[in-house]
Amino acid sequence: MSNPYRKDFPLLNQKERSKPLIYLDNAATTQKPDAVLNAMEEYYKEYNANPYRGLYDISEKATEKYEEARRITAEFIHAKDSAEIIFTRNATESLNLIAYSFGRSFLKEGEEILIPISEHHSNLLPWQQLAREKKAVLNYLYLDESGNLSEEELEAKITEKTRIVAFAYVSNVLGTIYPVKEIVEKAHSVGAVTVVDCAQSIPHYPLDVEALGVDFAVFSGHKMLGPMGIGVLYGKKALLESMPPFLTGGEMIDFVSEQEATFAPLPQKFEAGTPNVGGAIGLMEAIAYIKDTGYDKIKAAEEELTAYALDRLRELSYVTIYGEKYLKENRSGVISFNVEGVHPHDVSSLLDADGVCIRAGHHCAQPLMHYMGVAATCRASFYFYNTKEDIDSFIESLKKVRRWLGIGN
């Protein structure tokens, strides 16, 4: 089967390799198309300069491109104003920015923060530490066996004291797609602010911050074909304006005297220091690639792969699948599983011998692992450039794992 996208990804087309490359760790990071790599190379080779400061041609071009990336990003997620887009290092930094700047200014003792038990540590630890510092309460939304959140649970946990509701659009462990609009509406009904971690959703599904009504949304460039080191924080303008700076330093000031300072307006207020211009340009190209491909095509390709992988995994009696075991509307292409009698790290090392890259471990979600009663899981995650042949290789390699360890037949 030919996949029309693979030719655009140099890493997937390396000829000289000692073993094949079956890359199924897309929830960790995605591969980069030539368009992204070329745009970044062009920047570094042709107009690399510090933006905003330089009163000369290439600095002006760097500034222009950096701001173009901001506009493109704003349009892409349907933000009203490009000043609502803050560039950060990654989703983690964006979440920390919200917890430090918004949380430490506005959260009061005894108020509640609510997050699902499935959250990645990046959307858990900033809130846990904030709650400890402010003597606030961190509450958890618990999930059913398939990883789904019930209406009753949401109803019971969102209270008059809830001030912040933070959650991932898609779980990085179970692949569950959460009902963002319903959660946001429920949170808003008690006056809580919503923070949506879109790191695992935006590579696969469109984001419309306006239609969803979210207050803050965050994501990383590298999980959506862009480079590492560039991330996005979207925040409603009124909220961002009410918040103090997170980091201070160059580029984010209006005027500085010996004892005080006034800060730049949005978005520069939150972008201290020389920004990642090359990263922003890479992200802009990644957005263009996703737009050209089309989310409908991406979704269709991934659904086919996910359904096929789930079918093949269910055939293996010694494999346990976590989360939904069949493709459903709320199931994305992240599959956590375990092989009976074999530790996930052994599974991953043995698959690597066949060139199959999957993730094994706690996936930065230790409270979820504890809740599910497992120490670790294996995780395969797909993107539109994967093929059914990739999944066949993965399954064939998986069949050998128990034999290697002398278990079963």
Partner: protein, 143 residues
């Protein structure tokens, strides 16, 4: 390097055999060791008498490499003096770091089966977990 150098018969035997996986009747030391990145966990029990490891065992859970390495170690240190056990631990970690001469490894007996783990940096912590736990356990016991 072939994966068969790591997942060898010796490793398989130790990973699947529980002959060293139990509690001791009268342990003089119990030491817990964890590998936070993997969740490997062992508890090493030693019965020391006059500076000699009279008996040893472990309990725990984790990957085949961590559990087999701990089991091989327990076989090796039984009956050895604390000083000898310390030397073995040094030799083992030296082997994993690729710092030892081939001829100096003989004392490690079956533990030599884990030599090629040095080519799998992500799994080194699994292989040394038992040995680090041993070092912690006998370090505290020095008079």
């Amino acid at each position: 390097m072939g994966i068969e150098n790591i997942y060898s018969d010796i490793l398989r035997e130790h990973a699947n055999s529980n002959h060293n996986k139990h509690h001791l009747g009268h342990p003089t030391q119990t030491q817990r060791g964890i590998n936070p990145s993997c969740g490997d966990e062992i508890e090493l029990e030693l019965e020391l008498e006059d500076g000699i490891i009279k008996d040893a065992s472990f309990v725990g859970s984790g990957c085949a490499i961590s559990q087999a390495s701990a089991s091989i170690m327990v076989d090796l240190i039984k009956g050895k003096s604390i000083e000898e056990a310390k030397e073995l631990a040094k030799t083992f970690t030296g082997m994993i770091k690729n710092e030892m001469k081939e001829e100096d490894l003989e004392v490690l007996e079956d533990a030599i089966a884990l030599k090629d783990i040095s080519h799998m940096p992500a799994r080194v912590k699994c292989a040394v977990l038992g040995w680090h736990t041993l070092e912690e356990s006998i370090k505290e016991n020095q008079e």
